[in-house]
């Protein structure tokens, strides 16, 4: 019965319990035949378990299922636009459909706001496919082409070298043409989202200087609205927001450790989406801003 339920471990255990019972009772007729029969069942169950455990974790799916993944797991509110296209491609990568994801990311390369994010994801997909050489070749093709600004290429170069290093490949990639630096790029991708991989930690990036953050509220008086708060202080990916008294009520329920999704980060160069975790929420108790609140947020990579 357990086996018919697909409960193979439980079935195996029961068969073994029966074998032990038979081994302890010498007076049972045909004991040896029964033991042999049960032993065969145990082997069969163990073989089935092994097949399940060694099956490919991410087989390639039919195109229509990949299309469905792309549609169902793109959560951008811009359902027809570039944001959804990028998220759909990332969803394909997250479901292990790397070859199809690469095709989708390649379609996004001509789009300014998506270019760097798409390129980084192409590199990452190649690495998932155990093709470091393909990742290197992609970078070299882009470097010799005209699609990317030098600053964008430098960012991709640093990212790719980081991934290669993690795989034990100490390849040094040729930097882009003169004028590029590894610091702030001029054209910024929209959030540089990366597929989540349980096997690889994400590469830390140099954060931009953020002027303000838009927080969407799903409850309370500003429900459904995005409210912008000025950044009073930033170190790396930690920002501190100064919340005036008349807006204190909006943030009073934000607890330390709460994740804030669908944030908008306003920098001097671009606006990009992201998420953050509340690391502090406290009143200003003295000084010219007494009565205000400070809300500290740790920006998390997408």
């Amino acid at each position: 019965m357990y086996r018919s339920q697909g409960l193979l471990s439980e079935a195996g255990r029961k068969y073994k319990e029966l074998i032990e019972l038979l081994e302890r009772n010498e007076r049972i007729r045909n004991r040896q035949q029964l033991i042999e029969g049960l032993s065969r069942k145990v082997s069969s169950v163990e073989s089935d378990l092994k097949k399940i455990q060694s099956a490919p974790q991410t087989p390639q799916l039919p195109e229509e299922v990949q299309n469905l993944i792309k549609k169902l797991f793109a959560f951008s509110k811009d359902t027809e636009g570039e944001g959804a296209e990028l998220e759909g491609a990332i969803a394909l990568a997250k479901f292990g459909q790397f070859e199809r994801a690469i095709l989708e990311f390649e379609r996004l390369l001509p789009k300014d706001a998506m270019r760097v994010a798409a390129a980084k994801n192409i590199v990452k997909c190649h690495m998932h496919l155990s093709s470091a050489q393909a990742a290197v070749d992609s970078y070299e093709n882009w470097r010799s082409g005209e699609l990317f600004y030098p600053e964008e290429l430098e960012k991709i170069r640093v990212f790719t070298e980081g991934l290669l290093r993690k795989e034990g490949v100490e390849t040094k990639l040729t930097p882009p043409a003169v004028g590029a630096t590894a610091a702030e790029p001029q054209a910024v991708s929209a959030g540089s989202p990366k597929p989540v991989s349980p096997k690889e930690p994400e590469v830390e990036e140099e954060p931009l200087e953020i002027n303000s953050i838009g927080i969407p509220f799903t409850e309370g008086p500003q429900k459904g609205q995005l409210v912008e708060f000025d950044v009073s202080f930033q170190i790396g990916n930690m920002v501190s927001l100064l919340v005036p008294e008349d807006k204190k009520a909006l943030i009073k329920d934000l607890k330390v450790g709460a994740t804030l999704d669908d944030l908008l980060f306003y920098s001097a160069i671009a606006i990009f989406p992201g998420k953050g975790v509340v690391s502090a929420n406290r009143p200003v108790e003295s000084g010219s801003k007494k009565g205000y609140h400070t809300l500290d947020i740790e920006i998390k990579p997408l």
């Binding site: 019965m1 169902l72 994740t259």
Partner: protein
């Protein structure tokens, strides 16, 4: 949160069937697909292995009616229940509006139920949601196996294990035969509608 498309006057609501491996999540969707044909608006898509275990997810779209003039489209998903697919479970759970937790009534699966519920709680938390606040229905599946002589946990024991704090609506069921599947679905839809109406205020 439910996805509102004001231009098309449509609301999309995502319901995920969660639970340990082999508890009957896919069987629930198969039964719904077969029985509620009038409301089903597309094919049941199952991404599974050769051994018919869900590998990525199952998906079944349904149309349920209107709220305030907007068509309500419900998307039913299942997650893979096996332990090694935890990252996929988390992916599928993203954007969920309501959950049906399908628990296995077999006594030998008691620990799996508890671990799966804890996994659900953690994944919801990682998305900034609370298992105590999200519309949630529990289903104690495989009650029919008592007739086959297999040892089942009592409803009281399952309630004590899984529902003592949650106090969610709970239904006994046999997804393979049908009883309880419709009741579970109706209740999760009712809770989803209530939540949607609160959101639309």
């Amino acid at each position: 949160m439910a996805n509102f498309n004001f231009a098309k006057r449509e609301i999309e609501c995502k319901i995920v069937y969660y639970g340990p491996g082999r508890s009957g999540k896919t069987t629930n969707l198969e039964y719904i697909h077969k029985t509620y044909k009038k409301n089903v608006t597309g094919d049941l898509v199952s991404v599974d292995t050769e051994g018919d275990r869900t590998l990525f997810f199952d998906f079944l779209p349904m149309g349920i009616g209107k709220i305030k003039g907007c068509d309500v489209k419900v998307q039913l998903y299942t997650v893979p229940g096996q332990v090694q697919y935890s990252s996929t479970r988390k992916l599928v759970l993203k954007g969920v509006d309501a959950v049906v937790f399908v628990a296995d009534s077999l006594e030998v699966r008691r620990k799996k139920n508890l671990l799966s519920l804890k996994d659900l709680q953690q994944n919801l938390k990682d998305y900034g949601m609370s298992i105590f606040k999200i519309p949630l229905v529990l289903q104690y599946n495989k009650r029919d196996l008592e007739e086959e002589g297999l040892p089942l946990m009592s409803m009281e024991q399952m309630t004590a294990d899984l529902n003592r704090q949650l106090k969610a609506p709970a239904f006994p069921a046999s997804a393979v035969k049908g009883p309880g599947v419709g009741d579970t679905l109706k209740e999760v839809l009712r809770l989803s509608f209530q939540a949607l109406q609160r959101q639309m205020k």
